[in-house]
Symmetry: C2
Subunit: 470 residues, 2 copies
């Protein structure tokens, strides 16, 4: 039994547990009160703020505790936008931000603001000059994560902060995935984080706002946490969050090196062990503990269940595992395969044996899922070799596959089964109403060196056109 | 050492502590995940919701957990107002609601909505027909607390709910102070609560929205908690909150009777033991554990410090203890004295000896504070007896007391010192720039049976006019 989903939530760190227990009896009173129980609570809160600020790399009076990372993001973005309302209502975000950032951006847009989404390359990384181009005279705020939560790619925060600084635009950095590994470098203006990502308790987020950054808290007034985070302070959890943050940061250098090596094993060996796999994300500039790969012809949810039965807890950005039936926006922005997607994020202390066992279990697990789905066998499907690109011919499809009503990975499996039936240079049309097909068919073409021609409206769905190249 | 401020925050209930510890190891994972740790977290969350809903008296799918009572109120009011946007933007609240409700109302007003504040009688109670009068064709929502947090008076929730129901207006009940004592009677539409008020952990609020009540969550979207409470679920705290709510409700009948008797001792004996005291709030229709009284010629903050040194933790609605220098809006709405205000709220299990010790310590403590402030002696000041009202004469003040720059209770003390220096029927003007004087001078007149004539603009402040009646 191995839990490999620490990017989603990490088990409570022993230091967090200790600090929580120790402060339950001292930290329940209202820290605004003048009596002894209130003063004791105030002392705990102040000490936690000092510790957390030092771990973030800011002043204690720049940091407030919120009730979650999501709340920190929502409050931070709303307050920073309102603080610069006179400048304008333009917001810049990357296309691969956490959903809390993107939802705040949607909310801003529906309230009349404008949003520019900066794209990423195939590793999930933004380019600083893309941020530079996105900034306008009316830009109130830019947001960029420190590292991506789905593929682990580190973002060039310091460079983007410099670009923003030169334009006079504050930069909010969502550091949820990286803060446990160390403070965020660069001259950011606002920073958000979430304690349960580093083994702190749930119920604690952090929002840092540098002195001098204009900030106008939104929503009903509240005197707590400098007016930036309404609601009674959760002091035992805040104490535990701060203590565990310092503890994990102290262990970070050694543990990062160890986990980085384990993740490298996955990055290197999974493509050798499992046919038709794409490992995504930046191989070097990445979080030490996180790797994501996608398996052609595999249903992500079925694979997750199979791995769960084998004793491994991982997550997936495949559409089939989500109630919305759309693939991960991160994988989509990167333009990589989303089907059969697996994210492995190793908690500190992950045993080497567990990782090796995962590597030994994975190939058969994937093969079983593929067999059940009737996927083309790897040997047969893998036989194609690269040839010179065919010249563009007529877009008339030689063959149309009707995949209407079928969910990922079936449309791709059906495509793979028939591509050999048409002559080289001919076009296969896959008619699908599954949102994942828009991402997975081009990704399949890239992986299998077939030519993705494009899409057009079809009867009851979209026709995705693929030209056989070999 | 006795903590008598459970209305502010209660120490962790043993059941809450047990449940919290038990669920720390099971409840840290993301309940939306499909693997075993996620499923375990989901089971805990579902069970907590069942338990809490049964304690509230609603269906589990009507209840969500928020990160605090304040958040429950803010989210509840915003969502209910938005859900009935087509009906109108009129909000009705009582004048004695918790600040979280009043701040949400201010926020609604500054966004273009309208708000009617329903007043209370001298016990702090609203009249159902006052709500009836306040309702309009464009009323989107009405709010009423189940019981007041500062003076303990129970509100006629069932009657107000009926009035609202007949008008087709949903009623949101802030049950923060009463839920530990039992479910709220009556046909409310929305209900909010806060776990740390009943000995649950901090970081948990509850929002119930009855089926059929129109509700449109505001702010950035989030899929958690039916879209009504963004942010990662704090499952260990939620489990502890639900378990302790059931536990305190089970103990409620016996403990309420016991604490009610202890509070009755305060209500009866404090006015006998301490001269010039006003016990406020409804003597019968009240929370079992809470009582508030105000002491003439006393600085609330000094009294709190003195009681703290004597081993008692209580709170105060006096202006002098607040950073805003305005007296409690509750006492102001009731029109009662705010100076030297003390709120005693007994946690379950309060020992009789502690209460007796409080009663034995209080008289000397108040006397010491009065002496230090140079207050008129009780005997001398208490000599006046009621006479027939004097007829209104010239408003010309026979004597003006300049209390500019002096904080409560000094203006009242200076008034009390000179009232005997003017003839019966003559007027004393107290010139003050302290906001508390507006409340405390009329309240002093009522207590001392002098005639409060009114106020007029004075040089550098307000002149409060008092006619000597005896």
């Amino acid at each position: 039994m191995a839990y490999f989903d620490s990017a989603s939530s990490a088990p409570l760190h022993p230091v967090a547990r200790q600090a929580l227990l120790a402060s339950l009896d001292e930290g329940w009173a209202d820290p605004a009160r003048l009596y002894r129980e209130g003063r004791r609570a105030r002392i705990l809160l102040d000490a936690a703020r000092e510790a957390a600020a030092s771990a973030v790399g800011c002043r204690p009076d720049e940091l407030v505790f919120t009730s979650s990372g999501t709340r920190a993001v929502h409050r931070g973005i709303a307050g920073a936008l309102a603080g610069r309302r006179r400048v304008g209502a333009h917001l810049v975000v990357s296309a691969v931000e956490h959903s809390s950032v993107l939802h705040a951006a949607e909310s801003h847009e529906s309230a009349g603001g404008t949003v520019t989404e900066v794209g990423v390359d195939r590793t999930g990384r933004v380019a600083p000059d893309a941020y530079e181009k996105a900034l306008r005279a009316d830009t109130a705020l830019a947001c960029l994560q420190s590292a991506n939560h789905e593929v682990g790619t580190e973002q060039p925060v310091a460079d983007v902060a410099q670009v923003c600084g030169e334009a006079g635009v504050p930069l909010l950095v969502d550091a949820a995935q990286s803060l446990g590994w160390g403070p965020v470098a660069g001259d950011w203006s606002l920073l958000t984080a979430s304690a349960h990502k580093w083994g702190g308790p749930p119920g604690v987020g952090m929002l840092a706002v540098r002195k001098g950054v204009r900030f106008a808290p939104q929503g009903p007034a509240d005197e707590r946490e400098s007016g930036r985070a309404p609601g009674f302070e959760n002091i035992p959890a805040v104490v535990a969050a701060a203590a565990s943050l310092r503890a994990v940061q102290q262990e970070a250098v050694a543990e990062a090196a160890r986990l980085r090596a384990l993740v490298d094993r996955i990055r290197t060996r999974v493509p050798r062990l499992v046919p038709d796999v794409e490992v995504v994300g930046d191989p070097l500039r990445r979080l030490p503990h996180l790797v994501t790969f996608s398996c052609l012809y595999v249903d992500g949810e079925t694979l997750l269940h199979a791995l769960d039965r084998a004793g491994f807890s991982v997550s997936s950005g495949s559409s089939c595992t989500s109630s919305t039936l759309t693939p991960s926006h991160v994988l989509r922005a990167m333009g990589v395969l989303s089907e059969g997607n697996v994210r492995v994020s190793l908690p500190p202390g992950t045993a080497e044996e567990d990782l090796e066992r995962f590597l030994s279990v994975l190939p058969d697990t994937v093969r079983d899922v593929r067999e059940r789905l009737g996927a083309p066998s790897a040997a047969a499907a893998n036989g194609a070799t690269a040839t010179a690109p065919t010249t563009a011919g007529a877009e008339e499809a030689a063959l149309t596959v009707d995949s209407l009503g079928k969910r990922c990975p079936i449309p791709v499996i059906e495509l793979a089964k028939v591509i050999g039936d048409v002559p080289v240079g001919a076009v296969v049309a896959v008619l699908s109403d599954d949102e994942a097909a828009r991402l997975d068919i081009p990704a399949w073409c890239e992986m299998r060196e077939q030519e993705y021609v494009g899409e057009r409206a079809g009867d009851g769905g979209t026709a995705y056109l693929v030209r056989r190249r070999a």
